[in-house]
């Protein structure tokens, strides 16, 4: 069937831009993920890096590969996915066209930032890992590129917020539709959260790397980094939450049980995401234990919206399972559409999110944290969270989003292969997650080339099983990745397009209870006020400790030790 793609894209230019963000994001995801198995093998006690170096001659060390993996997967892929869906979804829901110049400007800034940072990364001039703690000193182009890349997200925030303002002006007194509400709280949260990183990069790191200032205070830099470094995990997480709230119940054949509860969840993230960064710095000197305690309490508060999400999403899925004829205590689970990768991927991710979240509570617990701080437990934790739940949700989303953006159909065979890739990814991550947590409890440090340590350093027989889990997990994940790339190429390469797919509406779920027309809905909608409260909370939690750090500045000289 002939499809006039040009006409469709000129009527819906946001689809083309969204596709560009997604395509770049997933290319980055694939490239970054290729390094992962080699790190997993390292934690399995096997040195596959010589092999990788033969394939990629520019690679000088384990730590250069680790830097690439962290930057590309954790920072670049996640942000590009957010810039795609958290603009596209509200635009479709409201039926408004985004300001296209700004939308493309954001894409251009992201590309230029990424390329600028990539040169020193590939040239081994910025092997500082994705936390880039000074006084390790990378090339200025790395900091400048990373800064420009992050700033491109501010332009995306403008594009999404402008859609909302335009809708609000046209619909005075109406409560914001749910997906748009999620997008607006998400971007407001990120504007506040990203301020720390943007300040660190623009005021401290770029001038320092250019030689304009002599030294940087490493503790101040760490504090600004973690101002952003914790809420950035919600920046990764909330696009996935948006999808499991707004789309997943529909794919399951049911409805979202509570629209107001979903709003409360996103509002709590707006309030509590940012003033929690010190729980990454429990082990730092020179920060008052009182303020660490405050951040520990606030971190527990930010667990609340995730606990509510567990309930609301599970209840929505149960409702769907029962509508599909499921009976008994757990009989409804079997009736759900497990053969659809768009359904199975996020749901498997949510399952991994349960132990991952419990581990997160351990990390946030002031005194318990010292047992696991900077051990392999920590990457074990975030591989269950971002590399399993967020990533699987993103992979699953492509099965309905790509047809909507391109008109290309997903065949039954592709679904089956896609489902296999999803299960392999899930299984591989569970093995790796278990192995890394376990090794961490036995004292194995994170981000360490342990196969290069003295031969007896990690020879403890107790490490045999966790190391095996890491190695097997890494190999399974490599298989999953290769299979998934095959599925995507099979989906994208054929030229056949179907107009019905292009015209299909967003698969948004209806809610059992709604917010529109209710006092609660209107109160939750006063986002200016809520944002002011979020700013106030950050000012309270960071103001006094930051003021003290500034009083007691102690800049030190930079070093390159790689």
């Amino acid at each position: 069937m002939a499809v006039d793609l040009r006409a469709h894209y000129s009527a819906h230019p946001e689809k083309r831009a969204t596709l560009y963000f997604l395509a770049l994001g997933f290319v980055v995801f694939v490239v970054g993920s290729l390094f992962g198995p080699f790190q997993a093998l390292n934690y399995g006690g096997l040195d596959a890096y010589p092999l990788l170096r033969r394939l990629l001659p520019f690679l000088n060390s384990y730590y250069q590969g680790l830097t690439l993996h962290g930057v590309l997967n954790a920072i670049v892929f996640t942000q590009l996915f957010a810039q795609a869906v958290m603009v596209y979804l509200p635009a479709q829901e409201l039926g408004l066209r985004p300001r296209m110049k700004a939308f493309w400007l954001a894409w251009g800034m992201a590309v230029v930032g990424l390329l600028t940072a990539a040169v020193p990364l590939l040239a081994d001039e910025a092997t500082v890992l994705y936390t880039f703690y000074p006084p390790l000193k990378g090339h200025w182009a790395f900091y400048a590129g990373a800064g420009l890349f992050v700033l491109s997200s501010w332009v995306s925030a403008y594009v999404a917020l402008e859609l909302w303002w335009r809708w609000k002006r046209a619909h005075p007194g109406r409560v914001t539709p749910l997906v748009t509400y999620m997008a607006v709280t998400f971007w407001l949260m990120w504007l506040l959260a990203s301020l720390g990183l943007v300040l660190e990069v623009t005021v401290l790191l770029v001038p320092w790397a250019l030689g304009l200032i002599e030294g940087v205070d490493p503790l101040l830099a760490r504090t600004l980094f973690w101002w952003t470094g914790h809420p950035i995990v919600y920046f990764w997480l909330l696009p996935a939450y948006t999808i499991v709230y707004a789309v997943l119940p529909k794919q399951a054949g049911g409805r979202l049980v509570s629209d107001p509860m979903a709003r409360i969840v996103f509002l709590l993230f707006l309030l509590f995401s940012t003033p929690v960064g010190f729980h990454h710095q429990f082990a730092d000197p020179g920060i008052s234990p009182f303020w660490k305690g405050v951040h520990s309490v606030l971190t527990m508060a930010v667990a609340v919206p995730s606990l509510i999400t567990a309930f609301t999403v599970a209840a929505s899925l149960e409702l769907a399972g029962r509508l599909r004829g499921g009976r008994g205590l757990l009989g409804w689970v079997r009736t759900l559409p497990w053969r659809e990768p768009a359904f199975a991927a996020p749901v498997l991710g949510l399952l991994a999110f349960i132990p991952g979240g419990a581990g997160g509570i351990v990390n946030a617990s002031f005194t318990l944290n010292y047992v696991v701080h900077n051990t392999a437990w920590v990457p074990g934790h975030f591989h269950l969270q971002v590399a399993t739940f967020v990533t699987l949700t993103a992979l699953g989303t492509l099965f309905w989003l790509v047809p909507q953006l391109t008109g290309k159909p997903v065949s039954e065979g592709q679904k089956r292969l896609g489902l296999t890739a999803v299960w392999l990814w899930f299984g591989g991550m569970l093995l790796l997650g278990l192995g890394l947590h376990w090794a961490g409890l036995l004292g194995v440090p994170r981000r360490s080339y342990i196969v290069g340590a003295p031969p007896d350093a990690y020879a403890d027989p107790a490490l045999t099983l966790p190391k095996l889990l890491n190695a097997v997990g890494g190999v399974v994940l490599l298989l999953a990745l290769v299979l998934w790339v095959g599925v995507m190429l099979g989906l994208l390469l054929p030229r056949r397009r179907e107009p019905a797919l292009l015209e299909a509406p967003l698969p948004l779920a209806e809610a059992v209870s709604n917010a529109d027309g209710r006092r609660l809905g209107r109160a939750l909608d006063r986002l200016g006020l809520w944002f002011a409260l979020a700013v106030l909370l950050v000012a309270i939690a960071y103001g006094p400790p930051l003021a003290r750090l500034l009083e007691q500045l102690n800049p030190v000289a930079g070093l390159r030790l790689w």
Partner: protein
């Protein structure tokens, strides 16, 4: 089930779940508060900013003076001036007596390092220009490994130290505190 009844039942479960979740978090916070009062209070690095010049710590001050690396400050109390540097620790080994309260004052002359005494909650970020101060009493005699667990450069994975807890006289090598 009609719409109204469904909504009502979901709300009941939802309230129960939220109450349970909040209750658990309050319990966790109470446990954290309780542990902060005991032995673990010492492993939280001091909040006071003790600043040093990383370029000078190896030539002047307590970290440069072999006689002051491990000092007995009072009966049963010791202070250890430890240095984490690329890529090792000083002194190495650190020797302290069993059952003594040991205050570690740790700093770095170059980049950020970790100082994790394996099997204990002594787990500190060592930041150049700052002194990390933590306190711990080793109840179990024997040798502990100190591991750098913060990326510090190409030799990071070779950065280990030793800490030897010498059995105190008159006491058996038991009394494992863990």
């Amino acid at each position: 089930m009609d719409e109204h009844e469904l909504h009502r039942r979901v709300l009941t479960y939802e309230r129960g779940w939220i109450a349970f979740a909040l209750g658990m978090l309050v319990l966790f916070l109470a446990l954290i508060g309780y542990t902060l009062g005991g032995q673990l209070a010492g492993v939280v690095p001091h909040g006071e900013a003790e600043r040093v010049d990383p370029a000078r710590v190896r030539v002047e001050g307590p970290w440069a003076d072999p006689a002051r690396l491990v000092v007995k400050t009072a009966p049963g109390r010791y202070t250890v001036h430890a240095l984490a540097f690329a890529f090792g620790f000083q002194p190495n080994p650190i020797e302290v007596p069993q059952g003594a309260e040991v205050t570690f004052k740790i700093t770095s002359p170059d980049v950020i390092h970790g100082f994790h005494v394996e099997g204990t909650p002594i787990n500190v970020e060592v930041i150049p220009g700052r002194v990390a101060v933590v306190r711990f009493t080793f109840r179990r005699a024997g040798e502990y490994r100190v591991v750098c667990n913060q990326y510090c450069g190409l030799g990071h994975h070779t950065m280990f130290g030793r800490l030897i807890v010498v059995p105190s006289q008159g006491e058996a090598v038991e009394g494992d505190g863990r």
